[in-house]
Point group: C2
Chain length 390, copies 2
């Protein structure tokens, strides 16, 4: 059965991304939510539901059911707004948007808030490495010492060997991210970095250096979604979610066909483009999941912006704000920051601002369609959304 009940983003809000030592999970989450409500000009009592994307609050803060907790702390517990948490590790935010999108498509809801939040800096060192490894296969990867960085390093080494390229191809992703983040007041990092600085930064898991690894940030992002009917009735401006795709593949890296291609990304982006009825040439900008720079390189090839092994022909000159395909105008996971459950929602905030022409100094000219790409762990789940269009 094919229904046509389009879904629009009508407002957004974010906390600062960064090391927010003095602020709590609930505080930043509520800040982002209230800003989104203000930005969209709605009343909280009109909300039909809230979806929260979060990955690690149980393990980090000993707190489950944060959907309900946040509704309480936002002061709307009395308004009986159903609130659930959606989790797909580092793609939790995008997954929450996806569920909210379906809930409106279902005809059950007209106005839904999505929040993404993560407070990563409560813990650090070995304890935090262990917790962040919960996004891997605990029994077959983490147990034997695999960490997210170590798994990404395997992909990077194999990619460099098979295609005869150097660290510079990966570093270019991070350099571009930092440049864009310097124009994004929300971003964790505001400093510009050079290729030399990136390539020569502290080793983390060879061949990946510190500047190849997204930071563990605190942060919260929120968006308000509305049905076509609501948008027309209330005369709201918004950005359409034109298509979405979600795909799975093997959980552990050792089961995959390739170390440097995520089949889930290939499939999810194809699905999303098909649903949106647009081609890659129509895309004005993309937010890609570069938790490690090698994943950014892989995403460019998996989505199809570059052929396999040919990201090197793209990353040095064509991914800037004025390039052929602007990548991560927000600053991406590397420089805007990487609060696990928030990042996926943060991509929607950037997509909304770009298409509404409200992105300030980092505005992409004539931004019409945006592609948003979020990944769980090392690629077990990929979620792609296309924003834009009439």
């Amino acid at each position: 059965m094919q229904l046509s009940n389009d879904v629009f983003i009508i407002g957004t809000g974010e906390s600062k991304y960064g090391e927010l030592w003095e602020r709590s999970l609930r505080e930043i989450s509520v800040e982002a939510g209230l800003k989104a409500i203000e930005s969209s000009g709605i009343r909280t009592k009109d909300l039909d539901a809230i979806y929260m994307g979060n990955s690690l609050s149980g393990m980090i803060s000993g707190q489950e059911n944060i959907g309900a907790l946040m509704s309480d702390y936002a002061g709307i517990a009395d308004e009986d707004v159903p609130t659930l948490r959606i989790e797909a590790s580092t793609a939790s935010g995008a997954a929450a948007v996806y569920e909210a999108y379906l809930s409106i498509k279902s005809g059950e809801y007209d106005l839904v808030m999505v929040g993404g939040v993560e407070k990563m800096t409560e813990l650090y060192g070995n304890e935090m490495i262990d917790i962040s490894s919960s996004i891997l296969d605990r029994e077959w990867e983490a147990f034997f010492g695999g960490t997210p960085a170590a798994m990404a390093a395997l992909s990077a080494r194999k990619y460099m060997k098979d295609f005869g390229v150097g660290k510079d191809v990966m570093a270019a992703i991070s350099v571009n991210d930092h440049k864009n983040a310097s124009m994004n007041p929300t971003a964790h990092f505001s400093n510009i970095i050079t290729m030399e600085q990136a390539i020569n930064s502290t080793p983390v898991a060879e061949p990946l250096n510190l500047m190849d690894c997204a930071p563990q940030s605190d942060g919260a992002s929120s968006i308000i979604l509305a049905s076509e009917e609501f948008v027309k009735r209330e005369k709201k401006e918004g950005v359409k979610i034109a298509g979405s795709g979600i795909s799975q593949e093997y959980f552990a890296l050792h089961s995959r066909d390739s170390l440097y291609s995520m089949k889930s990304t290939v499939s999810a982006s194809r699905k999303a483009l098909q649903k949106a009825k647009v081609g890659l040439n129509d895309i004005s900008f993309a937010e890609i999941h570069d938790s490690f720079s090698i994943y950014g390189v892989m995403a460019l090839e998996d989505i199809g912006f570059a052929e396999r092994g040919k990201a090197k022909d793209l990353v040095f000159s064509d991914i800037g704000l004025k390039g052929r395909i602007p990548i991560n105008p927000s600053g991406g996971l590397k420089a805007k920051g990487f609060p696990y459950g928030a990042s996926g929602v943060g991509q929607f905030v950037e997509g909304y601002l770009q298409i509404m022409g409200k992105a300030g100094k980092r505005q992409v000219e004539n931004a019409k369609y945006g592609l948003l790409h979020s990944v769980a762990g090392t690629g077990s789940t990929s979620i792609v959304h296309i924003l834009g269009g009439e």
Copy 2:
């Protein structure tokens, strides 16, 4: 916009509930899923999505993103079935069913599997008490020593005082549960208990004794949901999800208007009945969330089977399989068992079996409509579904 795309349960499967020391999270989860697939006669490649309900796998087993993990271990990673995890603490299973239901209502999917799983016995003692307290407000309840049992005890004491009743009103819920569970091969406990045994069992948190507290069980439950179109095309038999309601209220107990009423249950059951267009008198049986016996008593009153303070007029004679309103034919949380993320899905398994007339010795006569009631923590979220009807 009102759509009419009904959703049906066409098959179910469960692992044994209990202390499954020798079996892993992934093993029992896959067992339940494969049984559900077999029971419904579908092919895995026809599945459009999988929703997993789980509360504590991150904190207990250090494993996140178990949706993707389970799809891999079920051997269907190659079939690219989108899989997400839904969490609302002890209501995670019911929440996962709700999301699956919406996804079919949306017209995006025709055939969806829901799995609920929890492996509680990996940890025990103080560590497990701390983890299970993650379903409370960590900063305002658990931090000061509040545990799930302690919070329920506050409700029990106040209820007993205000209505001048004894422990027997609560014990009657557990006695009924054990009797029904003795006829359910899936159940954690198969022993019948007497009122005397229940009332005189080991104190846990006065006035609650061991027999007032649901056990920490391992277990997995799974159901297959299909659209009306799929059911007709494939000539499947099934049980309709006639209505659903999900409601919120304040997270922490100290914010509530009453210690012995969950506003979220009052509201969720009203919503569900309204959507199903049936009254309480049409309900043939109910599965209620009695993680503690006092919550069972409160549920009877919040849903409306008894007036406030009058559960005592119901529980001693009218909740058996042949009673006015059979409660927890499955054995309930107390005796079928309480694997957090699985229980909500398990209620649907029981509802399906009862309405299909396949519940064996514990069959409720002429079971036509069932009410399923699931609660997050101490009542921050309640989810009610009505099964049955044409």
